[in-house]
Symmetry: C2
Subunit: 215 residues, 2 copies
């Protein structure tokens, strides 16, 4: 290929993460306010231009760190966005991911080199965002709902184990629907992703609940 062929010069790769949390039973997504053009002062997802020296997920983690101070976020691929006009500056392809963290356990940097604010927004109260980030979130929520039942993404909420009612609450918040307690137990125990411990704890009720852990 010809490195300087104008037909495909000035292209770049965005790596973008929709970082979610569940806060008091409500699914939220992390947005940052941009300091720079394009879309100066707009809210946006975390992410940015991939460097030549980085693999995709490494670049994404650098971007997340630069814009929020968060380190080593575990992400899962969601979708590719590549329409030719999605960036006003130059041709950018977006490789998008989802991640989930426990907002109560981390400190988000509100002011960085590139951002002037950072907030958790409820799904449904997300403002108009930079680029095609609104569309990216829509797809990210789909991916999240699919992945959550197949993976241990929720581990971040429970470093020291969890009771099934606790876990179910998180599932319900993300899927945005009530689940039957008996069916949830059967399903989650059948996945082989979690194992019971000998410990018990009282969570919301008066009766003790058994503590489980992710494998």
């Amino acid at each position: 290929m010809e490195v300087n062929n104008p037909k495909y010069q000035h292209q770049g790769i965005h790596v973008i993460a929709s970082i979610f949390t569940v806060d008091k039973g409500v699914l939220k997504v992390l947005l940052v306010k941009r300091k720079n053009e394009p879309f100066k002062d707009c809210w946006a997802l975390t992410g940015g231009a991939l460097y030549n020296t980085e693999d995709l997920e490494d670049g994404l983690n650098r971007e997340i760190y630069e814009k929020t101070g968060l380190k080593n976020i575990k992400v899962k691929f969601s979708k590719v966005f590549g329409t030719k006009d999605r960036s006003p500056v130059m041709r950018m392809i977006a490789i998008t991911y989802i991640g989930i963290i426990d907002a109560s356990k981390v400190e988000i940097a509100k002011d960085t080199l590139k951002t002037s604010n950072a907030e958790w927004f409820k799904i449904g109260e997300v403002p108009q965002l930079a680029y095609d980030h609104n569309e990216i979130i829509t797809e990210a929520i789909k991916t999240l709902k699919e992945e959550i039942l197949k993976t241990d993404l929720l581990k971040v909420f429970f470093p020291n184990g969890f009771t099934l009612p606790e876990l179910q609450k998180i599932y319900e918040s993300i899927l945005n629907k009530k689940l039957d307690r008996r069916n949830f137990r059967k399903k989650i125990l059948n996945t082989n992703m979690i194992i019971p411990t000998e410990e018990e704890i009282t969570f919301e009720g008066k009766k003790k609940a058994k503590i489980y852990k992710f494998k």
Copy 2:
């Protein structure tokens, strides 16, 4: 973003298709021989550098056309390949797709501006390819096996309808395993993707078989 920042200058996007066919019960993939560096004279998948003026699938179809003469191939997204060293020339991200055509119904251009040959290779007899294309094919076969049961990708083989034994043969060739005739019928009829016609035809047997069509 700074257009001339060297950290993310000279990046590009590959759009790449693993184009499959089934030929006498054998799954094959289309490869072309490259005329140019890098990987001059190597076999490779169809595809190439996306232009700034094109959406992803449009660019892919242009590349397929330029390298094989094939037009309007229906493709499905497979996977993203983005390790930093996957191209020796510059930083390239590959957005990969699968497609399927009936090799007996098309003419593949063997000599083009960019290719000196084109051949169908049996899966398992694919040579060492350019870039990471061997790995791309491996993933593409996975995607193909998943998509084939959910989509009407196989329509291309049967523009005038098909009998269930015929369709089953193709499925078996792609999945690389025998299927039970009764279970296959039940499953495929349940998908609601095909409808029976009033016509019948003899295919391999002596008894007539009913002709179906994709919706």
